[in-house]
Amino acid sequence: MNKTNRTMKAVLFTAAVSAAFLSGCGQKKEADNSGKLSVMASFYPMYDFAVKIGGDKVNVTNMVPAGTEPHDWEPATKDITSLEKADVFVYSGAGMEHWAEDVLKTLKNKNLTVLEASSGITLMKGHEYEEGESQEAASEEHEHGEFDPHVWLSPVNAKKEMENIKDAFVKADPENESYYQANYETYASKFDELDKKYKDTLSPLPNKSVVVAHEAFGYLCDAYGLTQMGIEGLTPDSEPDPARMAEVIDFVKENKVKTIFFEDLVSPKVAETIAKETGAKTEVLNPMEGLTDEQLKNGDDYFSVMEKNLTVLKDALE
């Protein structure tokens, strides 16, 4: 985060407030007293991107608390009231936030700019236990669970999501367009760097198969020519079936997979069982559906986590 000193903040604050006053009744959006754009983000990557674009012009709230697995999360009453007061709501979409559409229908907040950040991204079909094929999203309305929602795990898609967020901010707060645009450009080049780094690191490696706790890495694998073998399907935390576990174990043995990946927010029991059986080791590959308090304290963000993921992927595939 930018370290603006207090005077700077005070100036900005006054400026924002007076701007709100000057623009008069036309801009009811600046209803909350900070004068900043109030943004609700549906889970961690959306939060991170929104903070990066909005900087000190926005107040971003991450709806899913740290350390919580977002697949099963549902908004509480206070989240709905916050949405009623917010200016912008950012969600990733493609079936990730199963609650979003229902909640949006009930909202009375006319000034809310709603953004499905995955719009414009080519979605992959969410085949359970199969390598997804790229496919054009036929319509705006996705059938729930039809697509693999984990778009943000490929840097190229993440960049697109950030661009969408930038556009939404510009729409809700046109006065700061150049600020948002400048931030976007800074991070866009970081995404490009990250993309290049992934390509350069992963393409020469001999092995291409990763075994993961749940099939969150379809877009990442697709982008860098890997295949994922998921112990679970697209959502984590269901009871594993033994036939599938046997299949994964055979796959690990046959392909001499060195590492079984699991996630921070999901119980590692099944991954550990398989690792033990095959002599592989376990390692965290973070699908970034949420960070833990500890990771947030350490100042982790999208880029640092993606770098870590790349390191463990490299070790596993060497």
Binding site: G67, E69, E239, P240, P242, A243, A246, E263, L265, V270
Partner: protein, 268 residues
């Protein structure tokens, strides 16, 4: 056989069959005491214990065991106050347990931790859990054999047991603690669903045939071991979720027993 090539399946069979032998011993007494739902109540309350353990930095398994013992003793206490409505005591403790677990889980920082202590699966058992289950099973089996007569008296009729000179209070206490420990450990290892159904369904099946208490216990164990083996095979070869499969095998058996008896005109 291919199924036994995998260590996780071997463990599932060892732990599954062991629990299938131990849990009906408790189950028969529980059913006769009209406390069939105690398995559910205790496994739900153990969630509260897990949450409490995580918040206070105590080992969550210890927390779960402690919460289960407290809940089981609570059920006993309420049951004594309302002897004619013993199922009420379970409803009260179960809702208290679920409520407490819900509130406490809000304070747990890392849900992965929480989940890994809540949901056991019979196909993902760690070595530690396996030894824990073996230890608990042997203890339960031993105490069950030692207190065989006393438990039989109490299960049938507490008042006459007291008149016959059985130390009802102490035996009840030991049995309650035993039940609590078994449920909390087993639910953590193989899943709450399997545990609570294993207490009741085999007993229900066995009661269709047995002529006395001893037979009821032995048949219940036999049935449960059969359910477990069929369930694990079916789950493996048909690619089903093991917990649900094992329970459904039991229910289907019970159904066939009912139908079979009806067709043969045997009285239950």
């Amino acid at each position: 056989m291919e199924i036994f090539n995998y260590v996780f399946m071997q463990k599932a069979f060892v732990v599954g069959i062991l629990l299938a032998m131990v849990i009906p011993c408790i189950g028969v007494v529980i059913v006769l005491k009209r406390l069939s739902m105690i398995g559910d109540a205790l496994s739900h309350t153990s969630l509260a214990g897990v949450a409490f353990g995580l918040i206070m930095g105590i080992n969550p398994v210890v927390g779960a065991v402690a919460a289960c013992i407290l809940a089981a003793l609570g059920i006993e206490a309420i049951r004594r106050k309302l002897p004619r409505y013993s199922e009420m005591s379970i409803a009260i403790i179960m809702s208290a347990g679920i409520g407490l677990a819900g509130v406490l889980s809000g304070f747990v920082k890392n849900s992965a931790n929480f989940n890994s202590f809540l949901f056991g699966s019979i196909v993902a058992i760690s070595d530690m859990e396996m030894f824990l289950v073996i230890g608990v099973s042997l203890t339960v089996l031993l105490l069950f054999l030692l207190l065989y007569k006393e438990l039989f008296y109490i299960a049938l009729d507490e008042r006459s047991a007291r008149l016959a000179g059985v130390p009802v209070k102490i035996v009840n206490f030991i049995f309650t603690v035993l039940t609590a420990v078994t449920v909390s450990i087993a639910a953590r290892t193989v899943g709450a669903l399997i545990v609570s159904s294993m207490m009741v369904i085999p007993t229900a099946c066995s009661m269709q045939f047995s002529k006395n208490y001893r037979q009821t216990v032995l048949y219940a164990i036999g049935f449960d071991v059969i359910f477990m083996i069929i369930g694990l095979f079916a789950a493996y070869y048909l690619g089903l979720k093991p917990g649900g499969t094992i329970v459904l095998v039991g229910v289907v058996f019970l159904l066939f027993i009912f139908i079979g008896k009806k067709l043969l005109g045997v009285k239950g």
